[in-house]
Symmetry: C2
Protein backbone atom coordinates (compact mmCIF):
# COMPACT_ATOMS: atom_id res chain seq x y z
CA UNK A 1 0.00 0.00 0.00
CA UNK A 2 1.89 3.00 -1.26
CA UNK A 3 -0.17 5.71 0.40
CA UNK A 4 -3.50 6.15 -1.33
CA UNK A 5 -4.20 9.66 -0.06
CA UNK A 6 -6.19 11.24 -2.85
CA UNK A 7 -3.58 11.28 -5.62
CA UNK A 8 -0.67 8.89 -5.71
CA UNK A 9 2.59 10.61 -5.00
CA UNK A 10 4.94 10.80 -8.00
CA UNK A 11 8.02 8.57 -8.11
CA UNK A 12 10.45 11.44 -7.70
CA UNK A 13 10.45 14.35 -5.29
CA UNK A 14 10.99 16.89 -8.07
CA UNK A 15 7.79 15.81 -9.77
CA UNK A 16 5.90 16.02 -6.52
CA UNK A 17 7.31 19.47 -5.86
CA UNK A 18 6.57 20.53 -9.43
CA UNK A 19 2.91 19.60 -9.07
CA UNK A 20 2.69 21.33 -5.70
CA UNK A 21 4.28 24.49 -7.06
CA UNK A 22 1.88 24.55 -9.98
CA UNK A 23 -1.06 24.27 -7.63
CA UNK A 24 0.36 26.91 -5.34
CA UNK A 25 0.76 29.32 -8.24
CA UNK A 26 -2.57 28.66 -9.94
CA UNK A 27 -4.50 28.88 -6.71
CA UNK A 28 -2.79 32.11 -5.80
CA UNK A 29 -1.17 30.60 -2.72
CA UNK A 30 2.10 31.86 -4.20
CA UNK A 31 1.33 35.29 -5.51
CA UNK A 32 2.75 36.95 -8.66
CA UNK A 33 5.83 39.00 -7.99
CA UNK A 34 6.52 37.20 -4.77
CA UNK A 35 10.06 35.89 -4.32
CA UNK A 36 10.38 32.17 -3.64
CA UNK A 37 12.40 31.37 -0.55
CA UNK A 38 13.86 27.97 -1.18
CA UNK A 39 14.66 26.91 2.34
CA UNK A 40 11.22 27.73 3.71
CA UNK A 41 9.39 26.13 0.81
CA UNK A 42 11.56 23.03 0.89
CA UNK A 43 10.90 22.54 4.57
CA UNK A 44 7.20 23.07 4.08
CA UNK A 45 7.09 20.40 1.36
CA UNK A 46 9.38 18.19 3.40
CA UNK A 47 12.10 17.84 0.78
CA UNK A 48 15.58 19.26 0.42
CA UNK A 49 16.36 22.25 -1.75
CA UNK A 50 17.79 20.14 -4.56
CA UNK A 51 14.55 18.74 -6.02
CA UNK A 52 12.89 22.08 -5.36
CA UNK A 53 15.48 23.85 -7.47
CA UNK A 54 15.08 21.40 -10.31
CA UNK A 55 11.33 21.89 -10.27
CA UNK A 56 11.87 25.65 -10.32
CA UNK A 57 14.12 25.29 -13.36
CA UNK A 58 11.31 23.50 -15.15
CA UNK A 59 8.86 26.22 -14.25
CA UNK A 60 11.35 28.83 -15.38
CA UNK A 61 11.42 27.18 -18.78
CA UNK A 62 7.65 27.36 -18.91
CA UNK A 63 7.67 31.02 -18.02
CA UNK A 64 5.81 30.55 -14.75
CA UNK A 65 8.64 31.78 -12.58
CA UNK A 66 11.48 34.15 -13.25
CA UNK A 67 15.08 33.65 -12.25
CA UNK A 68 18.04 35.92 -11.68
CA UNK A 69 21.41 34.47 -10.75
CA UNK A 70 22.28 34.81 -7.07
CA UNK A 71 18.97 36.51 -6.53
CA UNK A 72 16.63 33.58 -6.79
CA UNK A 73 13.28 32.72 -8.26
CA UNK A 74 10.02 34.60 -8.12
CA UNK A 75 6.54 34.04 -9.47
CA UNK A 76 6.23 35.99 -12.68
CA UNK A 77 3.90 38.90 -12.68
CA UNK A 78 2.17 39.10 -16.03
CA UNK A 79 1.33 42.55 -17.27
CA UNK A 80 -1.74 43.13 -19.36
CA UNK A 81 0.51 43.25 -22.40
CA UNK A 82 1.99 39.88 -21.47
CA UNK A 83 -1.47 38.39 -21.13
CA UNK A 84 -2.52 39.78 -24.47
CA UNK A 85 0.60 38.39 -26.08
CA UNK A 86 0.02 34.93 -24.65
CA UNK A 87 -3.54 34.97 -25.94
CA UNK A 88 -2.37 36.17 -29.34
CA UNK A 89 0.07 33.29 -29.62
CA UNK A 90 -2.61 30.88 -28.47
CA UNK A 91 -4.94 32.21 -31.13
CA UNK A 92 -2.44 31.44 -33.86
CA UNK A 93 -1.39 28.05 -32.56
CA UNK A 94 -4.81 26.80 -31.57
CA UNK A 95 -6.30 27.78 -34.91
CA UNK A 96 -3.79 25.54 -36.65
CA UNK A 97 -4.38 22.72 -34.16
CA UNK A 98 -8.15 22.90 -34.63
CA UNK A 99 -7.95 22.89 -38.41
CA UNK A 100 -5.87 19.74 -38.36
CA UNK A 101 -7.95 18.19 -35.61
CA UNK A 102 -11.21 18.63 -37.47
CA UNK A 103 -9.77 16.83 -40.45
CA UNK A 104 -8.77 13.88 -38.28
CA UNK A 105 -11.68 13.83 -35.86
CA UNK A 106 -12.87 10.37 -34.75
CA UNK A 107 -16.06 9.44 -32.91
CA UNK A 108 -13.96 8.45 -29.90
CA UNK A 109 -12.44 11.91 -29.66
CA UNK A 110 -15.83 13.57 -29.91
CA UNK A 111 -17.09 11.29 -27.18
CA UNK A 112 -14.15 12.16 -24.95
CA UNK A 113 -14.80 15.86 -25.53
CA UNK A 114 -18.46 15.42 -24.63
CA UNK A 115 -17.47 13.59 -21.50
CA UNK A 116 -15.12 16.43 -20.56
CA UNK A 117 -17.87 18.95 -21.22
CA UNK A 118 -20.22 17.01 -18.93
CA UNK A 119 -17.58 17.25 -16.22
CA UNK A 120 -17.24 20.98 -16.81
CA UNK A 121 -20.96 21.45 -16.29
CA UNK A 122 -21.05 19.28 -13.20
CA UNK A 123 -18.16 21.23 -11.67
CA UNK A 124 -19.71 24.56 -12.64
CA UNK A 125 -22.97 23.65 -10.92
CA UNK A 126 -21.10 22.60 -7.81
CA UNK A 127 -19.12 25.83 -7.94
CA UNK A 128 -15.89 23.79 -7.87
CA UNK A 129 -13.49 26.11 -9.71
CA UNK A 130 -10.39 23.86 -9.68
CA UNK A 131 -12.40 20.90 -11.03
CA UNK A 132 -13.89 23.13 -13.67
CA UNK A 133 -10.54 24.44 -14.88
CA UNK A 134 -9.27 20.87 -15.04
CA UNK A 135 -12.24 19.62 -17.07
CA UNK A 136 -12.20 22.69 -19.29
CA UNK A 137 -8.58 22.10 -20.05
CA UNK A 138 -9.28 18.45 -20.80
CA UNK A 139 -12.05 19.48 -23.16
CA UNK A 140 -9.81 21.68 -25.26
CA UNK A 141 -6.74 19.47 -25.15
CA UNK A 142 -8.74 16.45 -26.24
CA UNK A 143 -9.57 18.25 -29.45
CA UNK A 144 -6.10 19.69 -29.97
CA UNK A 145 -4.42 16.35 -29.36
CA UNK A 146 -6.16 14.62 -32.21
CA UNK A 147 -4.38 16.97 -34.59
CA UNK A 148 -1.48 14.55 -34.34
CA UNK A 149 1.02 17.32 -33.61
CA UNK A 150 2.38 16.54 -30.14
CA UNK A 151 4.88 19.41 -30.06
CA UNK A 152 2.28 21.92 -31.01
CA UNK A 153 0.00 20.65 -28.27
CA UNK A 154 2.84 20.81 -25.79
CA UNK A 155 3.40 24.46 -26.65
CA UNK A 156 -0.27 25.24 -26.28
CA UNK A 157 -0.37 23.46 -22.95
CA UNK A 158 2.58 25.49 -21.72
CA UNK A 159 0.86 28.69 -22.73
CA UNK A 160 -2.23 27.64 -20.81
CA UNK A 161 -0.07 26.88 -17.79
CA UNK A 162 1.48 30.30 -17.83
CA UNK A 163 -1.88 31.98 -17.37
CA UNK A 164 -3.51 29.51 -15.04
CA UNK A 165 -3.46 31.92 -12.16
CA UNK A 166 -5.50 34.40 -14.19
CA UNK A 167 -7.87 31.85 -15.65
CA UNK A 168 -8.96 30.92 -12.16
CA UNK A 169 -10.00 34.53 -11.67
CA UNK A 170 -12.12 34.34 -14.78
CA UNK A 171 -13.94 31.23 -13.63
CA UNK A 172 -14.59 32.74 -10.26
CA UNK A 173 -17.35 34.80 -11.86
CA UNK A 174 -20.73 33.15 -12.40
CA UNK A 175 -21.77 34.65 -15.78
CA UNK A 176 -18.36 33.74 -17.16
CA UNK A 177 -18.93 30.12 -16.20
CA UNK A 178 -22.23 30.06 -18.06
CA UNK A 179 -20.70 31.68 -21.06
CA UNK A 180 -17.99 29.05 -21.24
CA UNK A 181 -20.53 26.26 -21.15
CA UNK A 182 -22.58 27.79 -23.95
CA UNK A 183 -19.49 28.26 -26.09
CA UNK A 184 -18.42 24.69 -25.53
CA UNK A 185 -21.80 23.48 -26.70
CA UNK A 186 -21.47 25.54 -29.83
CA UNK A 187 -18.01 24.12 -30.41
CA UNK A 188 -19.16 20.54 -30.03
CA UNK A 189 -21.93 21.18 -32.50
CA UNK A 190 -19.57 22.66 -35.08
CA UNK A 191 -17.05 19.90 -34.51
CA UNK A 192 -19.70 17.32 -35.34
CA UNK A 193 -20.38 19.19 -38.56
CA UNK A 194 -16.63 19.39 -39.20
CA UNK A 195 -16.79 23.11 -39.76
CA UNK A 196 -13.23 24.01 -38.81
CA UNK A 197 -13.40 27.72 -39.60
CA UNK A 198 -16.51 28.16 -37.50
CA UNK A 199 -14.83 26.40 -34.58
CA UNK A 200 -11.85 28.70 -34.94
CA UNK A 201 -14.18 31.69 -34.81
CA UNK A 202 -15.88 30.47 -31.65
CA UNK A 203 -12.52 29.84 -30.04
CA UNK A 204 -11.38 33.33 -30.92
CA UNK A 205 -14.44 34.83 -29.29
CA UNK A 206 -13.97 32.50 -26.33
CA UNK A 207 -10.50 33.91 -25.78
CA UNK A 208 -11.40 37.50 -26.51
CA UNK A 209 -14.06 37.33 -23.83
CA UNK A 210 -11.52 36.01 -21.37
CA UNK A 211 -9.00 38.73 -22.22
CA UNK A 212 -11.66 41.38 -21.96
CA UNK A 213 -12.78 40.17 -18.57
CA UNK A 214 -9.19 40.02 -17.33
CA UNK A 215 -8.52 43.53 -18.56
CA UNK A 216 -11.45 44.73 -16.52
CA UNK A 217 -10.29 42.73 -13.53
CA UNK A 218 -6.66 43.79 -13.67
CA UNK A 219 -7.15 47.45 -14.44
CA UNK A 220 -7.40 48.90 -10.96
CA UNK A 221 -8.46 52.43 -11.70
CA UNK A 222 -11.33 51.16 -13.89
Amino acid sequence: MTSVEGHRRPPTAQQFVLAELRRAITTGRLRPGEPIRQEALAEELDVSRVPLREALKTLEGEGLVGYRPHRGYSVVQLSLDDLREVYLIRRILEAEAVRRAVALLTPEVLEAAEKAQADVERAAEAGDVPAMTEANRRFHMTVFECAGLPRLVRLIRTLWDSTDAYRSMYYGDDPNRERVIAEHHAMLDLLRRRDAEAVVRVLDEHRSAAVGALEALLTPGG
Copy 2:
Protein backbone atom coordinates in the same frame (compact mmCIF):
# COMPACT_ATOMS: atom_id res chain seq x y z
CA MET B 1 41.18 40.59 -14.46
CA THR B 2 38.69 37.74 -14.47
CA SER B 3 40.16 35.62 -17.27
CA VAL B 4 39.71 37.19 -20.65
CA GLU B 5 40.01 33.99 -22.67
CA GLY B 6 37.81 34.57 -25.68
CA HIS B 7 34.39 34.65 -24.02
CA ARG B 8 33.96 35.67 -20.39
CA ARG B 9 32.86 32.78 -18.25
CA PRO B 10 29.32 33.13 -16.89
CA PRO B 11 28.79 34.00 -13.23
CA THR B 12 27.30 30.62 -12.37
CA ALA B 13 28.40 27.13 -13.22
CA GLN B 14 24.97 26.15 -14.51
CA GLN B 15 25.09 28.87 -17.13
CA PHE B 16 28.55 27.84 -18.16
CA VAL B 17 27.45 24.21 -18.40
CA LEU B 18 24.31 25.22 -20.27
CA ALA B 19 26.33 27.04 -22.92
CA GLU B 20 28.75 24.14 -23.20
CA LEU B 21 25.94 21.63 -23.58
CA ARG B 22 24.30 23.70 -26.29
CA ARG B 23 27.55 23.82 -28.21
CA ALA B 24 28.14 20.13 -27.72
CA ILE B 25 24.70 19.34 -29.09
CA THR B 26 24.71 21.74 -32.01
CA THR B 27 28.17 20.74 -33.11
CA GLY B 28 27.28 17.07 -32.90
CA ARG B 29 29.79 16.38 -30.18
CA LEU B 30 26.84 14.94 -28.24
CA ARG B 31 24.90 12.96 -30.76
CA PRO B 32 21.11 12.56 -30.98
CA GLY B 33 19.83 9.55 -29.12
CA GLU B 34 22.93 9.34 -27.02
CA PRO B 35 22.37 9.05 -23.26
CA ILE B 36 24.04 11.69 -21.14
CA ARG B 37 26.18 10.27 -18.36
CA GLN B 38 26.18 12.88 -15.68
CA GLU B 39 29.26 11.88 -13.75
CA ALA B 40 31.50 11.70 -16.81
CA LEU B 41 30.22 14.95 -18.27
CA ALA B 42 30.45 16.76 -14.94
CA GLU B 43 34.04 15.68 -14.51
CA GLU B 44 34.88 16.69 -18.06
CA LEU B 45 33.46 20.18 -17.48
CA ASP B 46 35.05 20.30 -14.06
CA VAL B 47 31.86 20.91 -12.11
CA SER B 48 29.75 18.76 -9.84
CA ARG B 49 26.59 17.04 -11.00
CA VAL B 50 24.30 19.61 -9.39
CA PRO B 51 24.74 22.50 -11.84
CA LEU B 52 24.86 19.99 -14.69
CA ARG B 53 21.47 18.65 -13.71
CA GLU B 54 19.98 22.12 -13.52
CA ALA B 55 21.30 22.93 -16.97
CA LEU B 56 19.82 19.68 -18.25
CA LYS B 57 16.45 20.61 -16.79
CA THR B 58 16.56 23.85 -18.77
CA LEU B 59 17.40 21.98 -21.95
CA GLU B 60 14.62 19.53 -21.23
CA GLY B 61 12.18 22.43 -21.13
CA GLU B 62 13.46 23.57 -24.50
CA GLY B 63 13.06 20.12 -25.97
CA LEU B 64 16.74 19.64 -26.66
CA VAL B 65 17.14 16.71 -24.32
CA GLY B 66 14.68 14.13 -23.13
CA TYR B 67 14.29 12.90 -19.59
CA ARG B 68 12.88 9.78 -18.00
CA PRO B 69 12.85 9.44 -14.21
CA HIS B 70 15.56 7.20 -12.86
CA ARG B 71 16.78 6.63 -16.38
CA GLY B 72 18.41 9.93 -17.06
CA TYR B 73 18.73 12.43 -19.86
CA SER B 74 19.52 11.88 -23.49
CA VAL B 75 19.89 14.09 -26.53
CA VAL B 76 16.59 14.02 -28.35
CA GLN B 77 16.55 12.29 -31.65
CA LEU B 78 14.22 14.16 -33.95
CA SER B 79 12.36 12.08 -36.46
CA LEU B 80 11.52 13.51 -39.84
CA ASP B 81 7.98 14.04 -38.57
CA ASP B 82 9.32 15.97 -35.58
CA LEU B 83 11.40 18.17 -37.85
CA ARG B 84 8.45 18.83 -40.09
CA GLU B 85 6.33 19.73 -37.09
CA VAL B 86 8.91 22.16 -35.76
CA TYR B 87 9.10 23.83 -39.13
CA LEU B 88 5.32 23.97 -39.36
CA ILE B 89 5.09 25.73 -36.01
CA ARG B 90 7.86 28.07 -37.03
CA ARG B 91 6.00 28.89 -40.22
CA ILE B 92 2.95 29.96 -38.27
CA LEU B 93 4.78 31.87 -35.57
CA GLU B 94 7.32 33.57 -37.79
CA ALA B 95 4.66 34.72 -40.22
CA GLU B 96 2.94 36.56 -37.41
CA ALA B 97 6.21 38.00 -36.15
CA VAL B 98 7.18 39.25 -39.59
CA ARG B 99 3.82 40.89 -40.21
CA ARG B 100 4.10 42.84 -36.99
CA ALA B 101 7.76 43.56 -37.54
CA VAL B 102 7.24 45.07 -40.97
CA ALA B 103 4.69 47.44 -39.53
CA LEU B 104 7.15 48.62 -36.89
CA LEU B 105 10.36 48.51 -38.90
CA THR B 106 12.87 51.27 -38.17
CA PRO B 107 15.98 52.24 -40.14
CA GLU B 108 18.13 51.05 -37.22
CA VAL B 109 16.65 47.56 -37.39
CA LEU B 110 17.17 47.37 -41.13
CA GLU B 111 20.74 48.44 -40.63
CA ALA B 112 21.30 45.80 -37.98
CA ALA B 113 19.86 43.18 -40.32
CA GLU B 114 22.15 44.29 -43.12
CA LYS B 115 25.08 44.10 -40.77
CA ALA B 116 24.12 40.57 -39.80
CA GLN B 117 23.78 39.63 -43.44
CA ALA B 118 27.26 40.98 -44.16
CA ASP B 119 28.54 38.72 -41.38
CA VAL B 120 26.69 35.77 -42.87
CA GLU B 121 28.40 36.32 -46.21
CA ARG B 122 31.82 36.78 -44.66
CA ALA B 123 31.43 33.55 -42.68
CA ALA B 124 30.09 31.71 -45.73
CA GLU B 125 33.12 32.71 -47.78
CA ALA B 126 35.46 31.61 -45.04
CA GLY B 127 33.54 28.33 -44.77
CA ASP B 128 33.07 28.98 -41.05
CA VAL B 129 29.81 27.11 -40.38
CA PRO B 130 29.40 27.99 -36.69
CA ALA B 131 29.93 31.69 -37.39
CA MET B 132 27.48 31.50 -40.25
CA THR B 133 24.74 29.90 -38.17
CA GLU B 134 25.27 32.54 -35.52
CA ALA B 135 25.03 35.43 -37.97
CA ASN B 136 22.11 33.84 -39.76
CA ARG B 137 20.27 33.55 -36.51
CA ARG B 138 21.05 37.16 -35.66
CA PHE B 139 19.72 38.23 -39.04
CA HIS B 140 16.34 36.61 -38.51
CA MET B 141 16.00 37.44 -34.83
CA THR B 142 16.77 41.10 -35.45
CA VAL B 143 13.71 41.28 -37.66
CA PHE B 144 11.49 39.21 -35.39
CA GLU B 145 12.44 41.19 -32.32
CA CYS B 146 11.19 44.46 -33.67
CA ALA B 147 7.68 43.00 -33.66
CA GLY B 148 7.58 43.99 -30.00
CA LEU B 149 6.40 40.55 -28.90
CA PRO B 150 9.14 39.21 -26.64
CA ARG B 151 7.36 35.99 -25.71
CA LEU B 152 6.71 35.15 -29.32
CA VAL B 153 10.35 35.72 -30.15
CA ARG B 154 11.37 33.55 -27.23
CA LEU B 155 9.26 30.71 -28.55
CA ILE B 156 10.71 31.07 -32.01
CA ARG B 157 14.20 31.10 -30.61
CA THR B 158 13.52 27.91 -28.68
CA LEU B 159 12.26 26.25 -31.82
CA TRP B 160 15.43 27.24 -33.62
CA ASP B 161 17.50 25.84 -30.77
CA SER B 162 15.76 22.52 -30.96
CA THR B 163 16.89 21.97 -34.54
CA ASP B 164 20.34 23.52 -34.33
CA ALA B 165 22.04 20.19 -34.75
CA TYR B 166 20.26 19.67 -38.05
CA ARG B 167 20.70 23.22 -39.30
CA SER B 168 24.45 22.77 -39.11
CA MET B 169 24.09 19.83 -41.50
CA TYR B 170 22.24 22.07 -43.92
CA TYR B 171 24.92 24.73 -43.89
CA GLY B 172 27.60 22.16 -44.41
CA ASP B 173 26.59 22.03 -48.05
CA ASP B 174 27.94 24.72 -50.38
CA PRO B 175 24.92 25.34 -52.68
CA ASN B 176 22.72 25.62 -49.60
CA ARG B 177 24.92 28.40 -48.28
CA GLU B 178 24.59 30.32 -51.52
CA ARG B 179 20.88 29.79 -51.55
CA VAL B 180 20.54 31.24 -48.04
CA ILE B 181 22.47 34.33 -49.02
CA ALA B 182 20.32 34.95 -52.06
CA GLU B 183 17.15 34.55 -50.02
CA HIS B 184 18.39 36.94 -47.41
CA HIS B 185 19.03 39.55 -50.06
CA ALA B 186 15.50 39.10 -51.35
CA MET B 187 14.17 39.47 -47.84
CA LEU B 188 16.09 42.65 -47.17
CA ASP B 189 14.77 44.09 -50.38
CA LEU B 190 11.18 43.27 -49.54
CA LEU B 191 11.61 44.53 -46.00
CA ARG B 192 12.73 47.89 -47.33
CA ARG B 193 9.57 47.98 -49.43
CA ARG B 194 7.53 46.91 -46.39
CA ASP B 195 5.90 44.10 -48.29
CA ALA B 196 5.10 41.81 -45.40
CA GLU B 197 3.30 39.11 -47.36
CA ALA B 198 6.15 38.78 -49.81
CA VAL B 199 8.62 38.42 -46.96
CA VAL B 200 6.43 35.71 -45.48
CA ARG B 201 6.46 33.90 -48.80
CA VAL B 202 10.24 34.05 -49.07
CA LEU B 203 10.59 32.80 -45.52
CA ASP B 204 8.26 29.91 -46.26
CA GLU B 205 10.35 28.89 -49.25
CA HIS B 206 13.49 29.38 -47.18
CA ARG B 207 12.21 26.84 -44.66
CA SER B 208 10.77 24.45 -47.23
CA ALA B 209 14.14 24.24 -48.89
CA ALA B 210 15.76 23.43 -45.56
CA VAL B 211 13.20 20.75 -44.76
CA GLY B 212 13.57 19.24 -48.21
CA ALA B 213 17.32 19.11 -47.91
CA LEU B 214 17.10 17.56 -44.47
CA GLU B 215 14.64 14.96 -45.71
CA ALA B 216 17.15 13.96 -48.35
CA LEU B 217 19.95 13.94 -45.81
CA LEU B 218 18.11 11.96 -43.16
CA THR B 219 16.46 9.38 -45.38
CA PRO B 220 19.11 6.68 -45.46
CA GLY B 221 17.75 4.39 -48.15
CA GLY B 222 17.63 7.21 -50.65
